[in-house]
Amino acid sequence: MNMNFKSWLVGTTMLVMGTTGAFAEVVFNRGNSADPESLDPHKTSTVYEAHILRDLFMGLTIHNAKAEVEPGAAESWTISPDGKVYTFKLRAGATWSDGSPVTANDFVFSWQRVVDPATAAEYAYMLAPVVNAEDVTAGKKKPDELGVKALDDMTFEVTLNAPTPYLLEMLTHQATYPVSKANVEKFGADFIKPGNLVSNGAYVLAEFVPNDHVKAVKNDKFYDAANVKIDTVNFIPTEDRSTAMKRFEAGELDSNDDIPTEQLTDLKAKFGDQVHLGPYLGTYYYVFKIHKAPWDNVKLRHAISEAIDRDYLAEKVWQNTMIPAYSFVPPGISGYETRTTEYAEMSQIDREDAAKKALAELGYSPDKPLKMEIRYNTSENHKNTAVAIQEQLKPLGIEVTLLNTDTKTHYGMLEQHGDFDIARAGWIADYKDPSNFLDLCKTGAGNNYAEYSDKEYDELLAAGAAAPAPEERMKKLSDAEAIGVARDLCVVPLLYYGFHTVVSNKLKGWEDNVMDVHPTRFLSKE
């Protein structure tokens, strides 16, 4: 009975999952921590959507398996001598999934759509380097005044405010992807529905059942379809990480973009080299409310920062999935020299001694203890981090209390510059460039939760943006970091992010990289 029951069950599963069809279809079940908020590339903001859209669409440039920039929808490009005008030659023979050609007009339409206030694209600022982009988004200019032009069907010209050496890197981001003008005009807001959506990537959208799966099937019209080895990708939302691990173990998932760090030791033992760990371009940090006493004292801020044992956080709390951080911009951006706080090279005990001395000088003592409240958003690891810091600061006579709120309350409070002492935040790079981090400390920037404002810092960033030579630009940005972060602690860097994924041995071609980008078209499955 047992056998019969089991084989009956297996039979049913097979039928339903459709894994054994008439032909050997290669299906990749890809665990993705969250469902996409939207499949409209211009309305998305998270990396979970990026994973899917990267398969459906192709930007002017793309990331290859190693996250290096390669020509995508553009076959080649030329840059004017002043670095402000980019002329892209679109790929001949590249078409939309309905067979119609991808034209420069589609790009003009798409980019105007991104910056149009009526679209309300969350990532409209990605196009900020383009002439008039910010004014269009703010409603001060019309979308057709954006600095983009179709010179002919196959030539797309972009005019920039200043030389932007990271533009090509930025064009791999989904906010710059093209959508088919004809398609959007035909279906309106419904163009992103399965069956309607026309895309220019290696895959086309087949199904989207919220909280169940997004199914994408190979696009036969894709210019490089011959080299696409996986026929179907199912993006499966895996909110519950423990379940995701069990589903991976049972073979229901071929990969997952996250693992529960608390189970890391056991998972490594169980899955071996299928567990992938490595640096990821992002920083986990705390911010002080620097206009509120006593946090307006930079010496005090440094004393607290020094006293936090980052090695312990990385090793024990995060099980080595994170790396201790002493600078805001993580290492891994070529040409950029990160500037760390001066105690980066000191030993933890010397740091603590220095912190104790500084606190004593500032007049804090066991009779007059310093009180500090750490605010963090709900998450097991944020909690463990805050708890560890609370214990680390205790011997210094700092009375730390913890306040956990849900994510929306947390960021709502930070954004409205509510009252707090020190709060958690994090930043994952959108593209490989230091400015993506450093802009966060610019006067009046949306994510400048500390409300840091320093003239010299702003000037250095501006000088960097205007610098014609990339080396000079990097130097200015590096100097800015030395002032804003290393000297003034506009953010308190704690850890650099690391990616932690599980990838089945059956998947070939998966290359670990700092952007944690893995387009399905470069993968194959045994």
């Binding site: 908020e37 703010a138 423990s242 589903r247 930043w427």
Partner: protein, 307 residues
């Protein structure tokens, strides 16, 4: 009877209105909004988003706007899943939750009642203690412990069932979620049934019937059960409303695309329209099932009349 039903529906309208109003304003005074996230938006873009979703208008205007749409059956688009309207999300998820909930409810009622009666007929014997013990355990172990245990044992060790996923509605994918949903309910039903059955068996007319030599079986089924059913019926009203609208824990752990998770997610994400949708949904279910319970009461107990 029909008039009674009609009147109940009429009185449900002001109830719904009050609930919608409470939820609407409660949601709006909660800190944070749908567009707060780890990667904060720059103020210009946030203003654009708020304009697109009419969040920049005065609150009373938004409220009237919402009520007007609601009356025409339009729940609005979801803020956090703009590809879908709230109605789309319910259309996709509600059948899933309904199926699981109905299966769990029926199983819980049938098995739970049977166990309860069995225990009641053997009051203070080993069977009784066993049933009470198991039932109590079922209602004291949290669902988020039972569900992973099920996955570990039946899916990963025995390989009988998949760990999670809906599998397009395959029966095999439903076993785990249904059992997990059912267990706490079954426990409560069994205990309720045992209690009311014992009481019912002690009632005068049952004792008389037994004394008159009617067989145990006929006494239990014909007479005692009828009286004992009332507490079960009144319990299953709210239970049905809760089960049929899904469970966030079961749906998250088993990766099931139901609507239960929206009750929690929408509130935490400040997805205003989706929250309102869930509130309306549950209010309708509650009102509906309370009505059904009252009608069933009249059917079971002839003394109850509605005019």
């Amino acid at each position: 009877m029909l008039r009674y039903v009609f009147r109940r529906f009429l009185t449900a309208i002001p109830t719904l209105f009050v609930i919608v109003s409470i939820a609407f304003f409660l949601m709006r005074v909660a800190p944070g909004g749908p567009f707060n996230q780890e990667k904060g938006l720059n103020p210009v873009i946030k203003a654009n988003l708020e304009r697109v979703f009419h969040l920049d208008e005065p609150l009373w205007k938004q409220f009237l706007f919402y009520l007007r749409n609601l009356l025409s059956g339009d729940f609005g688009p979801s803020y956090n899943l703009p590809d879908f309207t709230v109605a789309d999300l319910f259309k996709a998820g509600l059948p899933v939750s309904l199926q699981l909930g109905a299966m769990a409810l029926i199983l819980a009622l049938v098995i739970g009642s049977a166990l309860g009666i069995w225990a009641a007929l053997r009051q203070n014997q080993l069977t009784d203690y066993a049933v009470v013990g198991v039932a109590t355990a079922g209602s004291t172990i949290p669902t988020f412990v039972i569900a992973p245990l099920f996955q570990l044992f039946f899916a990963l060790t025995l390989h009988w069932f998949p760990v999670g996923g809906w599998g397009g509605g395959a029966l095999i994918n439903k076993v785990g979620p249904v059992l997990t949903l059912m267990l706490p309910q079954l426990a409560i039903v069994a205990r309720l049934m045992r209690g009311s059955m014992i009481e019912s068996l002690h009632a005068h007319h049952i004792r008389t019937a037994r004394a008159m030599g009617l067989s145990d079986y006929s006494v239990v089924i014909r007479h005692a059960l009828r009286g004992a059913l009332l507490p079960i019926v009144s319990y299953s009203g709210p239970a049905a409303a809760a089960l049929l609208t899904g469970s966030v824990i079961v749906e998250t752990i088993f990766s099931i695309p139901g609507v239960g998770r929206y009750f929690v997610e929408a509130a935490l994400n400040r997805d205003y329209t989706l929250v309102m949708g869930t509130v309306v949904l549950i209010a309708i279910f509650t009102v509906l099932f309370n009505l059904i319970v009252d009608i069933l009461y009249a059917v079971i107990d002839p003394r109850v009349r509605y005019d």
